[in-house]
């Protein structure tokens, strides 16, 4: 079982992101579960969502305490919420930012991690470019697919366009592709 934890703020699509990931995995014939933690609906409040992907039916429903992958949709959460709780050095870490880990103040923490499992992506900027709105989850999903290989970009795009038909879906799909390309490009030197 692979467990992903997504940190965001209400209104950024963290919950939808987890859901779309689960749908992408479903399209690859795998079992997947997505769910959020809840407070009362409030834009801007910290939100955590979870996604589990496995090849067997998933029976547990507890929050993910030790994620195999961590996605941070909003870097302002880094020093406000304990996003790294339970995150071990083998984990994938993906942060929405146009800065580096060092600039974000988490460089030291990530030192023991496998650099091929770490990535940043300027998802908000990519979203603005492709969607005209600062909704980072589609680029992050594409980036996630590139970083982890857990789901294919194709499945991510399919999940997105199924959920958001027409122009909105197409734009989100392009944003996801851009996120994917960003990570692939950033990882190239280390894969050479």
């Amino acid at each position: 079982m692979f467990e992903i934890r997504i940190h965001g703020r209400g209104g950024q699509g963290a919950v939808t992101a987890a859901e779309l990931l689960s749908v992408a995995a479903f399209h690859e014939d795998r079992y997947a579960q997505a769910f959020p933690t809840f407070g009362s609906e409030r834009t801007g409040a910290p939100v955590v969502s979870f996604c589990r992907i496995a090849d067997q039916p998933i029976r547990i429903h507890e929050p993910i305490a030790e994620p195999d992958a961590l996605v941070v949709q909003d870097p302002t959460l880094l020093h406000q919420v304990k996003v790294f709780d339970g995150v071990g050095p083998a984990a994938f870490v993906l942060v929405n930012t146009s800065r580096g880990f060092g600039e974000l103040g988490i460089g030291e923490f990530l030192e023991g991690f496998d650099p091929r499992r770490l990535a940043t992506v300027p998802a908000t900027e990519l979203a603005r470019e492709h969607l005209g709105r600062p909704l980072p989850n589609a680029p992050l999903l594409g980036a996630f697919a590139a970083l982890t290989g857990l789901v294919s970009l194709e499945s991510v795009v399919r999940a997105i366009t199924d959920r958001f038909p027409g122009q909105v879906g197409a734009a989100n799909a392009r944003a996801a592709e851009a996120g994917h390309a960003h990570v692939v490009h950033a990882q190239e030197p280390s894969r050479a």
Partner: protein, 418 residues
């Protein structure tokens, strides 16, 4: 054909396929997605003919269902927590009038203090209301139980509560098999009530019944509840034959055949319990689990049959009777009367506190090492320091709620955020 769907949406689509003619609902977290989806389906005509009443309260919701059901319509509502309590008078009225209403309870804690997260205190508060109570272990279960619920309700002429853990199940997106319209139509015959409000054949429904007949009416309610002990398994078997999967039934044993220790639980926590059972079995511990699917009526004989051979039983439940002890625990002890089985009552998951594999491992290890006292009620993951300080403060008592009083101790307002 499987789908990847949110539990609430799956339940709404399934209920729609049961062809309710009147839906009356008032929104309350965490049930909102169910009733919103049904409202959409009525508006688009996907669910027709159906009248959707946007009532002014849960009391109004159940009352409208009572009127609709008495007038011959298949009806549906959903609620949780405070909403279930707000309609409590009408809940008893519905079962007393023998109306086959089906209601989803998206289990949520009851305040004060206000808490929107999952536990079973709402359903347990109305366990004696004369309604059938079914608890879903998974979203697939929840979907299937609603279909079976209409069969059960209309056969025995008593309403059914289908309980599913709020947020944990309602808001989880999972892989599910939705029953098709054709399958449900074949499984659920049209609703043909024995007495109905009809100008061509007027009847009086809801008369005052005095001491000379009230006992008999109530006895009959109990007798009908007990009949469900046969009806529930039969309907489950028919469901399996028609839909090709097992769900419903009275109880669900898991690796209990040679178990020395059996864990009893209701609802989604069973998934976690079964995972821990598997892990401990791999270490050679003879442990199993018993899921209770039908809580009312209480399947006493079935529970006894599974548990009587065990040395110890650990009940992990998401509600309790303040001042008395466990609720499922009490019912389980009833079933184990006269046996030497040791019973442990453990309350877990109150107000949405996650019940984790780690905590359960620790709990079961304690039980097996006989470090847990079978007498008394245990609270899993209790912050004993916090409560002891509050209890000490109470030695110089000034009345007031504990939640606010404890905050003085925490120093800073605002708990840690996850």
């Amino acid at each position: 054909m499987p789908s990847q769907l949110e539990g609430s949406l799956a339940v709404a689509r399934t209920v729609a396929r049961c062809r309710p003619q009147v839906v009356a609902a008032y929104p309350i977290s965490p049930q909102t997605h169910i009733v919103e989806a049904l409202s959409d389906m009525v508006r688009t005509g996907e669910l027709a003919p159906c009248e959707y009443l946007m009532v002014e309260s849960e009391f109004g919701a159940m009352s409208a269902c009572i009127g609709a059901s008495a007038a011959g319509a298949r009806t549906y509502t959903a609620t949780a927590s405070q909403g279930l309590l707000f309609m409590a008078e009408a809940v008893f009225n519905a079962s007393g009038l023998g109306l086959p209403i089906v209601m989803t309870v998206a289990n949520r804690a009851i305040g004060a203090p206000i808490n929107i997260w999952n536990d079973h205190s709402d359903a347990m508060a109305l366990r004696d209301s004369g309604w059938f109570q079914l608890f879903a272990e998974s979203n697939q279960d929840a979907v299937d139980l609603h279909v079976q619920a209409y069969r059960l309700a209309e056969e025995l002429s008593l309403p059914v509560m289908v309980c599913m853990d709020g947020y944990v199940l309602t808001h989880a997106v999972e892989r599910l098999e939705l029953p098709t319209r054709e399958q449900v139509d074949a499984f659920l015959p049209p609703f043909t009530p024995r007495q109905v409000l009809d100008p061509h054949d007027p009847v009086t429904i809801g008369a005052m019944v005095g001491p000379e007949a009230f006992t008999e009416v109530k006895y009959l309610m109990h007798a009908v509840q007990m009949r469900a002990l046969d009806a529930v398994p039969r309907i489950a078997a028919e469901f399996e034959a028609a839909f090709g999967r097992r769900s419903g039934g009275l109880v669900r044993p898991y690796r209990t055949e040679d178990a020395e220790t059996v864990v009893v639980a209701l609802g989604s926590v069973l998934g976690t319990v079964e995972t821990v059972v598997d892990e401990m079995r791999a270490e050679g511990v003879r442990i199993g689990a018993l899921g209770i699917t039908c809580f009312r009526p209480w399947p006493l004989q079935e529970v006894r049959d599974v548990l009587a051979g065990a040395q110890r039983v650990v009940i992990v439940e998401k509600a309790f009777a303040a001042g008395a002890g466990g609720i499922v625990g009490q019912n389980t002890r009833d079933a184990l009367r006269g046996t030497p089985t040791v019973v442990y009552d453990v309350v877990a998951g109150l107000g949405g506190r996650p019940v984790t594999r780690r905590s359960l491992h620790r709990l079961f290890d304690e039980v097996l090492a006989e470090r847990l006292d079978p007498a008394g009620l245990h609270f899993l993951d209790l912050n004993t320091g916090l409560v002891e300080r509050e209890l000490a403060r109470m030695r110089n008592p000034r009345p007031g709620p504990h939640a606010e009083s404890m905050l003085r101790d925490l120093g800073s307002v605002g708990a840690e955020s996850h």
